[in-house]
């Protein structure tokens, strides 16, 4: 931790993508489908908005307290005892995320790919892998993620073509016929997983350009929103909402439906061998955040000393937690969103007010005003905001005012997807503009965008 590390904006965006997207693949999608049925693919817009707000507050904190992570900031702002208490709650929250992921992944692999292997063996091997990465740093995880996340993203998008022969668009109809309240309820469930964006608070001390840090996180969040919407669209088009809502692991069954040719019958093995490392990166980020939080209690810059005891502790607690898949599923769908909202909203509101009062570092000037690049950056920011707003307006207007004919349904659904895609492109443009601005100002030759 003491040595400098280099994590650029693209690695940050892809790490956010891995952290948020892979966790959703295990189990949470079928509850969303059960609630809003064939319109479940509209369930990502509120969680995306929520995660962007959290990322914004983290960037503000990074601007107000440069070189400090979330846990250190809490000790500074709240003092030793109250700050310690809040950090203890955050430690518990990260522990819940870790337990949920480790046990979820172990049960998933036992029930799908390794039915004869005891869950304890899968769990211990998984934790040993985490402990190996715990000896390193976020930089190593970010570099490994650069290999697996693009492959995972491309394969997720390719599912549409690989499953083309199984796809029936009639299973999506009538589009936007579900009650708006149901769509809103289905938007609440993914907040539990999108709340994992708070894990990046543990690495705030590594951010030297808060605006670029925010743009990278925003881009990662929108990648997740768009990809999960597309995956839900494919899931519903292939299986229909009745089957998809009754499966514990719908994405696994979806991938099993790929029958391109007779000799390419087990494509899920290839897909899941790419999915597993991407998911591991997510757990490693959470584990590193856990170690950094423990390190802040110990007043130590080095967290390596806590690696072994934390790993063994997680093995035992994961064995004890969530005895059945049902418990895991219920917790992920209902309890985790409540925990996220109860912990994060008051905490972030309080920290945001403090951050505004203590802002010391003005990094809004990474691009000189009046230049072509600055105009492009402003255009991208506005386009992204308008596009995300457009998604919301299309959803509400399409559900309330547009008639339920086939044409109107496809028109509003198409508009929603186009707006989401524009938001994705605009967030990429915003991130790139800020990065070019940084390079032009000659700051690019520093030790990377983010140091840890």
């Amino acid at each position: 931790m003491i040595h400098k590390q280099v994590i650029n904006h693209r690695q940050t965006a892809w790490l956010v993508g891995s952290v948020l997207m892979t966790a959703m693949m295990i189990s949470s999608l079928h509850k969303i489908v059960a609630i809003s049925k064939m319109d479940a693919w509209f369930s990502q817009i509120f969680p995306v908005g929520y995660a962007i707000v959290v990322a914004f507050v983290l960037a503000e904190l990074s601007r107000a307290y440069p070189g400090k992570n979330l846990f250190e900031i809490l000790f500074i702002v709240c003092g030793k005892w109250i700050g310690g208490f809040i950090n203890l709650i955050l430690l518990g929250y990260i522990w819940i995320i870790l337990t949920l992921d480790i046990k979820g992944a172990s049960e998933f692999f036992r029930q799908t790919l390794l039915p004869r292997t005891p869950v304890e063996i899968i769990l211990i091997v998984f934790v040993l892998l985490m402990m190996y990465y715990g000896r390193t740093s976020l930089e190593v995880a970010a570099r490994v993620n650069e290999i697996y996340f693009p492959a995972y993203f491309v394969l997720s998008m390719m599912l549409y073509f690989l499953l083309g022969n199984e796809y029936n668009v009639e299973r999506l109809e009538p589009i936007l016929s579900t009650d708006l309240a149901k769509i809103f309820a289905s938007n609440l469930l993914p907040i539990g997983i999108y709340g994992d964006i708070l894990l990046f608070g543990a690495f705030l001390h590594a951010s030297t350009h808060p605006r670029l840090f925010f743009a990278a996180m925003k881009h990662g969040i929108i990648i997740v929103g768009f990809t999960v919407s597309m995956l839900l669209l494919i899931l519903l088009g292939v299986m229909g909402f009745t089957i998809a809502s009754r499966l514990n692991f719908p994405i696994f069954i979806l991938v099993q439906q790929i029958h391109v040719t007779d000799f390419l019958d087990r494509i899920e093995i290839i897909l899941f061998s790419l999915w597993f490392p991407a998911f591991t990166i997510k757990v490693i980020v959470a584990y590193l955040a856990f170690l950094v939080c423990l390190g802040s209690f110990g007043g130590q810059q080095h967290y390596n000393a806590f690696n072994l005891p934390s790993g063994w502790f997680l093995v035992v607690t994961s064995l004890l937690a969530f005895p059945r898949v049902y418990d895991f599923d219920t917790f992920l769908s209902y309890t985790l969103p409540v925990i996220v909202l109860v912990i994060q909203i008051p905490l972030l509101l309080f920290l945001y007010i403090h951050a505004r009062m203590n802002r010391t570092m003005d990094t809004q000037v990474t691009i000189p005003k009046g230049t072509k690049l600055y105009r492009f950056y402003r255009f991208m920011v506005w386009t992204g905001g308008i596009a995300l707003g457009g998604c919301l307006v299309t959803l509400v207007a399409g559900d309330l005012f547009v008639d339920k004919s086939v044409f109107a349904g496809f028109f509003t659904a198409g508009m929603y997807l186009v707006f989401f895609f524009i938001a994705l492109i605009a967030s990429y443009g915003e991130m790139q503009a800020l990065n070019h601005g940084k390079q032009k100002l000659g700051q690019g030759k520093r030790a990377g965008s983010f140091r840890q």
Binding site: I35, I96, T99, G299, F306, F322
Partner: protein
């Protein structure tokens, strides 16, 4: 489990050997983690070992769960 216990014992012995060079706060945290691990490992050997409250938390948020499941 035997493999896990062997690894745990080795890491505890390593910690005890190295602890003199560690700051007291760090030692305290590591002691707490090992203590919790051993305590929970003992609980794991009992017949009714599901002691973590994750499953019961859903009971406290039952109104929300009922509200969401109303739509299913």
């Amino acid at each position: 489990m035997l493999f896990f216990c062997v690894l745990l014992v080795i890491s505890i012995i390593t910690f005890l050997a190295k602890r003199k060079s560690m700051p007291p706060k760090q030692q305290g945290i590591i002691f707490a983690l090992y203590g919790l691990t051993i305590g929970l490992l003992v609980c794991l050997q009992l017949q009714y070992n599901q002691i973590l409250p994750f499953g019961h938390l859903s009971t406290y948020i039952a109104p929300l769960k009922n509200w969401i499941e109303r739509w299913m």
